[in-house]
Symmetry: C2
Subunit: 246 residues, 2 copies
DNA sequence: CGGTCCAGTTGATCCTGATCAAAGCGGCGG
DNA sequence: CCGCCGCTTTGATCAGGATCAACTGGACCG
């Protein structure tokens, strides 16, 4: 989750400053990337792929939000991944999508055709290493998320989610979230509920409660203002320095 | 989680048939592995490392059970990883342990010193690729686990855990779990509770309930017999073929 | 044999978050 | 302007699992 400072000079030819593949790529590698690259856009709510579909590309999120989720037969759903701009989607070496992927807002993907991308990984070990690093980061985030799902109260869950989003939005702008910081909530109440293993009513109530206790305030429905960031972190149940800063 | 058929012939010089590094290693690579390898054993209950410790090795589980877990300040704990024999522990490229690691039964690790192991990865791309594949498997397991934690009832959680353990034990023996199969439960009620985000009382009650409904029976405290495996799977809430078979 | 310890079981009660229901609030098209 | 729709908020009630507490049974030991 730690922010990667993109190497703009060296990555000039890659329009999205792709986290996985640009920072250390030479001219030839960038040319090969350009050759297998194309863009796709999706409207809010549109499915990108269903679990079980064949994946013919891997991709990087240029703008918008995508979610990974699992659904049970009776309709219960759990979000298992949240992809913000610069996040990576797809798994080299896997052909079948393991989860439903949905555009949660208007979404632009920078896609790379899977087969030649896999060849590129084999030829270019540092790309493989970067993918391993990113996958380990995702694994850490997933395990942090497991603690949230398994052991936190509804209020702590909401505070944790707000903290995570604030930190990720800040890291995209290369800053740290501080007092008075504000950010757009890119999720509906229902998506937040699917993220946290709650119902949308409980999400709404807990947000109202945090508002009542002056931990946050809302401008409109979606913009969140955090007057005292440490106060928000205190509500997550984590100790001040550990946990969420992965 | 799919079982890897070890290449015994080529890995003869690696006593543990290490999943990560043996299957495609040549003589020179195996020699380098031997040079940086050593064994460590731990008693049941003994900590292997704490979150925040410096890790000077990566390792493979030879025998016994290890768990990864996170603990909140007030003592609530969530298990985030369960390592059975042949599973891999550690993260090339990371120096600080992200979670507590505990020996949950007598445990034997085959360790590799971290620094030279990382060098070996750089020199030997197929090891890096194998690590990426294993990490993706762990990520899939973590996300399956998130669905369990976030959306399943206590009874479904227990059934899911039993299914997972049955499948992993079976895969170590290169078989598939079937009707009448039985296995050792390697976890106490409390560990099961930490795995599933429940209390140990609830775990005990749900196991009793499954016993009462003839879904399982127990021999002693730890040996579980499953007369009808499909009936157990039906209790997990997953559809028959998807989900758990990752 | 009795005593202690520990993992597990079972019971009674409580509380958090789910469920069911209704109403508020923009935004948008006619 | 109205009516409709999607999203959100709030209220009333319910229930699943947590909590607190007592008890069982086996292993170990003097």
């Amino acid at each position: 989750m730690k922010n990667l400072v993109f190497d703009y000079k060296r990555c000039g030819s890659c329009p999205i400053r792709h986290r996985a593949v640009c920072a250390r790529c030479d001219k030839g590698e960038l040319r090969r990337l350009e050759e297998i690259k194309y863009y796709r856009s999706y409207e809010a709510g549109q499915p990108v792929m269903w679990a079980g579909d064949e994946m013919d590309f891997v991709a990087s999120v240029v703008s918008g939000i995508a979610t990974l989720s699992q659904t049970m037969e009776d309709g219960r759903t759990q979000m298992v991944g949240l992809l913000l701009p610069s996040d990576f989607l797809g798994r080299p070496g896997r052909i079948i999508a393991p989860y439903d992927v949905t555009a949660n807002s208007d979404l632009m993907l920078c896609c790379f055709r899977r087969k030649p991308f896999e060849r590129l990984i084999v030829d270019t070990p540092h790309i493989g290493q970067r993918l391993l690093e990113m996958t380990l980061n995702e694994l850490d985030a997933a395990r942090e998320w497991m603690l949230i799902l398994g052991r936190k109260t509804a209020r702590e869950k909401i505070a944790s989610l707000l903290t995570i989003i604030a930190q990720r939005e800040a890291s995209l702008k290369q800053t740290a979230p501080g007092d008075g910081s504000s950010f757009e909530l890119p999720l509906t109440r229902e998506s937040m509920a699917d993220y946290l293993g709650l119902t949308l009513e409980t999400v709404s109530r807990q947000i109202s409660s945090l508002k009542r206790d002056q931990i946050i305030s809302l401008e409109g429905k979606r913009k969140v203002v955090v007057p005292d960031f440490d106060a928000l972190i205190a509500e997550t149940g984590d100790d001040a320095d550990g946990g969420m800063l992965v």
